[in-house]
């Protein structure tokens, strides 16, 4: 009987961790400017973090050949020649993590020229950690029932 109670408790805890609204303080959107230097075959700051609602300005500086920057999910892009800095401005209205990648063929390793845009906290990352901890406790708490194998 007590084991059933605990089972129910664990299931409830799991649901809370998975679906409870994340305690995030509302942050006033602001304007953020990033300078990204693109060279063969990497972005010099390849990870940018913003809060949802921020206005993001990405200044793309190309240091060798023509490079581009395309943001997955947002479906926007710019292209910069060396000596001609271009700015990509957008409002980060979609939360999550997005790849940005070079969209101008810039040489042999061009497909590997990628970076990451993080909008907001990694909610599902923290939720999955919580769920894993509950699962581990659950496995340790409940002794496994012996499995009966009936032979003819």
């Amino acid at each position: 009987m007590q084991s059933r109670f605990f089972l129910l408790l664990f299931v409830m805890a799991g649901l809370v961790v998975a679906f409870a609204p994340f305690p995030v303080r509302p942050i006033a959107p602001q304007e953020r400017t990033f300078r990204i230097e693109a060279g063969q075959f990497a972005y010099s700051s390849s990870e940018i973090k913003v809060n949802p609602g921020d206005t993001v300005n990405i200044q793309l500086v190309s240091t060798d050949v023509v490079h581009g920057l395309y943001v997955d999910g947002y479906d926007i892009s710019i292209e910069a020649d060396p000596g001609q800095t271009k700015t990509l401005s957008f409002v980060a209205d979609k939360p999550g993590s997005f790849r940005f990648r070079c969209n101008v063929t810039c040489g042999a390793m061009h497909p590997f020229m990628i970076g990451k845009l993080s909008v907001g906290k990694k909610v599902w990352f923290y939720r999955s950690i919580g769920l894993s901890i509950i699962a581990i406790i659950g496995f340790l708490k409940f002794p496994r029932r012996p499995v009966l194998i009936t032979a003819h």
């Binding site: 050949v65 060396p82 000596g83 063929t105």
Partner: protein, 333 residues
């Protein structure tokens, strides 16, 4: 099979083969030009033959990065040359002569070395004089040594303003003609200003006004565009000589330098800082024209004589002086 049917069958076969085959034949005969970065060989082929007055068809593709194709001194839209794609270009040359084609998208430190020639044949007598017979540039007429030092001995304490110069110049006997402007450096003009009650900074303002009155908004914006596309990668987007390639040029050492006096006399020179008044105010437009036309100077400066038209070079020069003078055209009107 009736005789008429056989004839019509033959006729249709020939017509279809002709309609499909003839364009295919022309297309297959069109040379495919491969573009690679200069270190790997640049354009291949880099010499193209053509006839004056006849259209020249070209197919272009890139083997590595994004390149561009344009012909110097020709009023044409540059064509992007992309890896894995074939771009088609049709050119018609009115005059015979040797034309230079060049890469228009920055493809690395040696981007500007990516050039080739189109040899256009035809009898020059039927047409205008050939390209090579252009008038000699102003610096040659004036006998300027474009390699001599040309520092200004006095520089203004603050940026000269053309607007206040205009008011001061109203009562002065100054020469605003293009000939005068092109032949003298701002410092020379400053030095030769009639001895009046003007202070030093007021005199510089008058010089700024003379320079402003020899340029137009269109000329400045054309010059700005040319500067961004062709100069900013080394000389910097704000003219300070600190473009993205400035460090790479220094690192590559001798290979980025050229000198007529041999390797022993090579000294590393960084791209010129156009915001430096000592050098810029000591340089006349004619001197700058010579430097842009010829290039060199013991540095990796390309020669632009075969690329830019004379008008484009004057536009570019007008823009270069805007790093020194405060024109503020918007407020003037």
């Amino acid at each position: 099979m009736k005789r008429s049917e056989l004839l019509s069958r033959i006729f249709i076969t020939v017509a279809v083969l002709g309609a499909v085959g003839a364009p295919l034949f022309v297309w297959a005969r069109t040379p495919l030009i491969h573009a690679k970065v200069a270190e790997d060989g640049g354009w291949n082929p880099d010499v193209i033959q053509a006839n004056a007055g006849e259209p020249l068809f070209l197919k272009l593709t890139s083997d590595d990065v994004v390149h561009g194709f344009a012909v110097g001194q020709m009023d044409m839209q540059s064509v992007d040359v992309l890896p894995g794609k074939v771009s088609n270009v049709t050119l018609t040359f009115d005059k015979p002569g040797i034309y230079t084609f060049f890469c228009t998208r920055w493809c690395g430190l040696n981007h500007w070395r990516m050039r080739g020639t189109i040899e256009v044949s035809g009898s020059p007598s039927d047409h205008e004089p050939a390209l090579s017979e252009a008038a000699e540039p102003l610096y040659v007429t004036l006998g300027l040594d474009i390699d001599a030092p040309h520092d200004a001995l006095v520089i203004p304490r603050s940026q000269p303003s053309a607007i206040s110069g205009q008011q001061l110049a109203a009562n002065l006997p100054i020469d605003l003609s293009t000939d005068y402007y092109r032949a003298y450096s701002p410092y020379q003009v400053f030095d030769e200003l009639p001895n009046t009650s003007l202070t030093e900074s007021q005199s510089w303002d008058v010089v700024a006004y003379i320079w402003q009155s020899n340029t137009t908004n269109e000329s400045l914006s054309d010059g700005q565009q040319l500067y961004a596309q062709n100069c900013a990668a080394c000389h910097g987007e704000n003219g300070a000589g600190n473009g993205v390639f400035a460090d790479d040029l220094a690192a590559s050492g001798e290979s980025s330098m050229q000198t007529m006096a041999g390797a022993d006399q090579m000294t590393m020179q960084t791209p010129v800082d156009f915001t430096d008044p000592t050098r810029m105010l000591g340089a006349s437009p004619a001197l700058l024209q010579g430097k842009i036309l010829r290039g060199g100077m013991g540095t990796g400066m390309p020669m632009w004589g075969s690329i830019f038209t004379e008008e484009q070079i004057w536009d570019l020069i007008a823009y270069l002086y805007s790093f020194q003078f405060d024109y503020h055209r918007g407020e003037a009107q």
